[in-house]
């Protein structure tokens, strides 16, 4: 494996029962870059994203062939521990989903399930994760209040902090701002640009302007096929495929 890709798929095909959802997707995701997956609804972008941490496993009748490599190792291969993969590959959901617990308990959740009990380390991680998401100053005086009392944007940043707490290598984001207002959206986008220094980020968005704003690389999916993949600047200024051009210029989808 000479590839420098952090995450890579090779001829990935995915079926939900009789539906062939992903067709022969081969893509290389570079480390410390933001990669956006765009495409019209139902094009398979979220499905592809959920292959990267095997969250598709939860859906019955899912069949996968091809490979998904994380650091060159097939995560669907024999002997791979799905729990370990999900610790290394975090996922931020479309709708902020903090647990109905305190802010503090939300951030420490990942540590606790990993059996970390050291008080000092936990406290440090909480402060660091909340700091990294710009939330610390906003919530440091009310860590024990319910996370559900935060605003939508704060909840989403809390979810990111919660994911950061277990120090993943890759962060997947599934339309992370679709439930947020523009101000909160820009905050999250800015956060994404900061986070890529330490993490590899893959973001699914139905908002191609967002893809333009935050990503270094963009992949365009249509009907389960990866139509085009390249540098965001290139995709947005001189796409090679007519289909990509039509989509990003709003001519369909």
């Amino acid at each position: 494996m000479t590839s420098t890709a952090k995450v890579e798929t090779k001829n990935l095909n995915l079926y939900y029962g009789p539906n062939h959802v992903l067709h022969d997707v081969s893509v290389q995701i570079l480390p410390n870059k933001v990669t956006a997956l765009i495409g019209p609804s139902g094009c398979g972008k979220s499905t592809l994203l959920r292959c990267f941490n095997r969250l598709n496993d939860l859906i019955v009748n899912t069949k996968i062939d091809g490979e998904v490599l994380l650091d060159g190792k097939n995560i669907y291969g024999n002997g791979m521990d799905v729990v370990d993969i999900r610790r290394r590959v975090g996922l931020i959901f479309q709708k902020p989903n903090p647990f109905p617990k305190s802010i503090y308990d939300n951030v420490t959740f990942g540590l606790k399930i990993n059996g970390i009990r050291e008080k000092k380390r936990i406290a440090e991680t909480v402060e660091k994760s909340l700091n990294d998401t710009g939330l610390w100053e906003e919530v440091k005086d009310r860590l024990n209040t319910s996370a559900l009392e935060l605003s939508g944007g704060q909840q989403q940043r809390l979810c990111i902090a919660r994911a950061l707490a277990i120090e993943p290598e890759v962060i997947l984001m599934d339309e992370p701002t679709s439930a947020l207002d523009p101000a909160a959206t820009f905050k999250i986008e800015e956060l994404v640009s900061q986070l890529k220094k330490k993490y590899t980020i893959i973001i699914v968005t139905h908002n191609m302007q967002q893809a333009g704003r935050v990503s270094d690389y963009t992949g365009f999916l249509y009907l389960g096929k990866l139509i085009e993949f390249g540098k965001t600047n290139d995709i947005f200024t001189r796409p090679k495929e007519k289909l990509t051009e039509n989509y990003i210029s709003g001519r369909f989808g």
């Binding site: 905050k187 986008e189 800015e190 640009s193 600047n233 947005f236």
Partner: protein
Amino acid sequence: MRQTFQDNLSELEQDIFTMGEMVCIATNRAVKALKEQDVEEAKRIKHDDKYINEKRWTIEEKCINLIATQQPVATDLRELIAVLNIITELERMGDYAEGIAKIAIKIGDQPHVKPLIDIPRMAEIAIDMINKTLRSYAERDDKTARLICKQDDEVDELYTQVYRELLAIMIEDPRTITMATYLLWTSHNIERIADRVTNICERIIFLVTGEIEENVSKY
């Protein structure tokens, strides 16, 4: 908010300063090479113009990418449009400097038909205008930008003066026509540089106020 985008815009601003500096240096060097009849230096200047052109394409590429990916609006949009205009002007100004260098090569070591005093003076004013313009761009100072346009009149006056002087020399001795025309071209090039500075000033006024203003001095 949108720190990354703001960083990109500041980077573009820096690029403009660099490019402006390159044009000043090229103009200064070209006039000096002409005055000192340094053909080797003139050849180097001619060659170096390609760096200015390259810089222009790099900046343009950055602008296009930002427009395509960042959906700039209002001031941000005017900023990028202004940058696109400014680099076009700067690139042309670089070409004029290169033109002077080419004249210096053509003249070679043949003696000048008149001592070069007004032409370097014109160049000095033009370069001063560029520097002031870059500063007013950095400070988003539309008042200074308007004042700079007035300075162009000085250059125009000098140009008229040089033109008459050269005309007189040519009438007196038609053998000087070729050499005198070279100098006429040179002064014309500098006059054009100053004109283009005023175009940049108009862009700065547009950038700050959002108004497109045609300025006083016209060629």
